[in-house]
Subunit: 396 residues, 2 copies
């Protein structure tokens, strides 16, 4: 994604720099490039290769048909997007020893994961989605990974509510308006830290749902997904969910890190990022079809997909077979895991031979409806337009 970190620098920092550069700099068409069959990087060798598209060592996308039909996205299929290479795997060898410095509270101090575990436990199901999910559909070809729908998953996080930690530390200090998390990545020497550090601020209102999580889908969080401890802000874009969080500060202002001030800002095409533009915080209402994706035989077809409200619960979803000329409601299936989770939907239809444009359109509990059009923006963020997400299907 187009945060202000030089792309080539990041690739050089990664382990398989040569291979990545070869693809990134190749003359392959921009979208086709995403389909290149790179092998899984070593740190995610435990993932299921055939379910993933490896864009680079730091960007792996879940294939559109591989999200499954249950609510949970299996960890070995979940997308990966790192702004910097992960820290050494040694940090997950003794998970309970990992320490986080808390600041901007009345009694600032450091706490280990072991200590955090004694403060309480909660589990939340939520959609984890990259701000640039859907970037691959923008015709102006924004810089950054051309994700289509697979930079997203719905998972269980377990950890301690940040609220409970704050209570144990005497409460938020006066005048603070943001929660600022800092990642534990090793920063390259000789560079101004603010240009590369993964440090993000979100509004204090997110304290309501924020979690310091040590478990993903019932297992200790892998290094690839931010273990031993990750800041999880349900309803917010992925970048705000700080991996290997090493500092959690309540601050009066947003961090000055480039990833906050210039990166992840919604702005017109061609405009530079700046602090007065909207930050990639709360997610919007969205849905897409996960199957069928390919030509099929005429007859009964079960259309499946997922819908979520982002920062609020999804209320309903409709499906169109004719590119949006007509819509019919599609029922949700499976248990409702709460406002931040996605809901799978299923609609069985009879299809005669012909060409179809299968689209889905979700509505959240506040009445926000997925728009038809994408909103063009420099980085290709926040794409929830249903038209680009439609599946062109030939039925024979």
């Amino acid at each position: 994604m187009p945060e202000p970190i030089d792309l080539r620098r990041r690739q050089l920092l990664a382990g398989t720099a040569t291979a990545i550069a070869a693809v990134s700099l190749s003359g392959l068409p921009w979208r086709v490039q995403a389909q290149e069959a790179l092998p899984l990087p070593d740190y995610v060798k435990w993932k299921t290769a055939e379910t993933l598209i490896v864009h680079s060592a730091n960007t792996l996308e879940t294939r559109r048909g591989a999200i499954g039909t249950s609510v949970v996205t299996a960890s070995d299929r979940l997308f990966v997007r790192n702004n910097l290479p992960a820290p050494d795997a040694a940090i997950v060898a003794d998970r309970d020893a990992w320490g986080v410095a808390f600041a901007g509270v009345k009694q600032p101090r450091s706490l280990t994961v072991a200590e955090l575990k004694s403060l309480g436990v909660e589990t939340v199901a939520c959609v984890l989605q990259c701000s640039g999910n859907g970037r691959g559909f923008f015709p102006h070809k924004p810089s950054g990974t051309p994700w289509t729908v697979g930079a997203a998953g719905c998972v269980f996080w377990s950890g301690v509510p940040l609220k409970a930690v704050v209570e144990a530390l005497g409460g938020v200090a006066d005048g603070m308006a943001f929660i600022t998390g800092t990642g534990g990545e090793t920063l390259p020497p000789g560079i101004d830290a603010t240009t590369v550090v993964v440090e993000r601020s979100v509004p204090l209102r997110a304290l309501e749902q924020a979690l310091l999580a040590w478990e993903l889908n019932g297992e200790p969080i892998s290094l690839a997904h931010g273990g031993p401890l990750r800041l999880v802000i349900p309803g917010y874009y992925g970048v705000n969910n700080i991996k290997y969080v090493r500092q959690l500060a309540f601050t009066a202002e947003e961090t000055k890190a480039n990833i906050q001030t210039k990166g992840y800002r919604l702005r017109p095409v061609g405009v530079q990022g700046a602090p007065d533009q909207p930050s990639m915080w709360e997610m919007n209402v969205k849905s897409w079809i996960s199957q069928p994706l390919e030509q099929m035989k005429a007859g009964r077809v079960v259309i499946q997909g997922v819908a979520f409200g982002g920062a609020r619960a999804v209320k309903s979803v409709e499906v169109s077979l004719d590119g949006g000329q007509s819509w019919r409601p599609a029922p949700f299936v499976g248990p409702d895991l709460g406002p931040y989770a996605w809901r799978p939907f299923v609609l069985a239809v009879e299809l005669k031979p012909g060409n179809y444009s299968l689209a889905s359109r979700a509505t959240d509990v506040d009445g926000n409806v997925q728009p038809r059009e994408r909103m063009d923006n420099d980085n290709g963020f926040a794409h929830n337009g249903w038209e680009d997400h439609a599946v062109k299907l030939a039925v024979v």
Copy 2:
């Protein structure tokens, strides 16, 4: 488990017969034997070894502390119990081609998984538990695997409701009272099939919730867990959830297979199995503590565990620190996934140095309460007594 299949025969059918026999027939104390560090069998090499106790090639138990705190039990930690060795892995190479013969319906026929997928999709979260979970606590040392608490997990299954399939086949034929599923295992030649076949009947009322599932926790079901297709009867003991189901029949009477007529029958110690004894169908209300399990330092301790109602929803759970002399309610955490799922609970307490007996006691929505005592029975089935499940804890 003590179904009437000769134990030694089953071990000989398994791949690693020698190693298993060496342990099973060793003079090791009965319970200690369960802790032997056997390697993972090849067909479950993808599981996380340190989270499992390998009792034999066909019986793997999740360690008590490894169930995690979210609702879902990760597939790579989920217990395995096979009554026969699994079929050849070739059956999961082309999953959609697997066929199931339907009988006892008005329009009997075979359907492939691909065809079943066109009939509908549902997801259910439920506890999968072996009838013998807790057998290791019975003092009379029943034959069969001495599971303690880890022959259980809570997972998502996705598939087609059996009801939808039956509707497509014209409905259940008149006079049928049972759902009888037959497993796809290859039976050893020269043996009367009824003595070994995995074929179970459950009452027709289970049609309400039964599922033909092709997905477990968002992924195609592995061979180890019954893929490509498993009959899932939420609320019923594991043995009724037929793996690699190859026939699904509605029948007027229960199957004559030994695993039904003599096996999985609740009877007094020393009595042989017979059809007039209760069959291991609906599960009972149960809970246990998953942590802490070991000596710890005085101070704040977060007690965690899981509670479920079995065939009906769990309503509440209490925790005792003094072996049942006093109880306090423990709140559930995380989303409620429906009546067949378990609910994690968490209770934070301050513990001074001393010895504690930590127990949990669940109550279901019908008011059934976990009893203190186990109900002794020949096979060590259905153990939900809270006293045996208590954790003895030294706080220093």
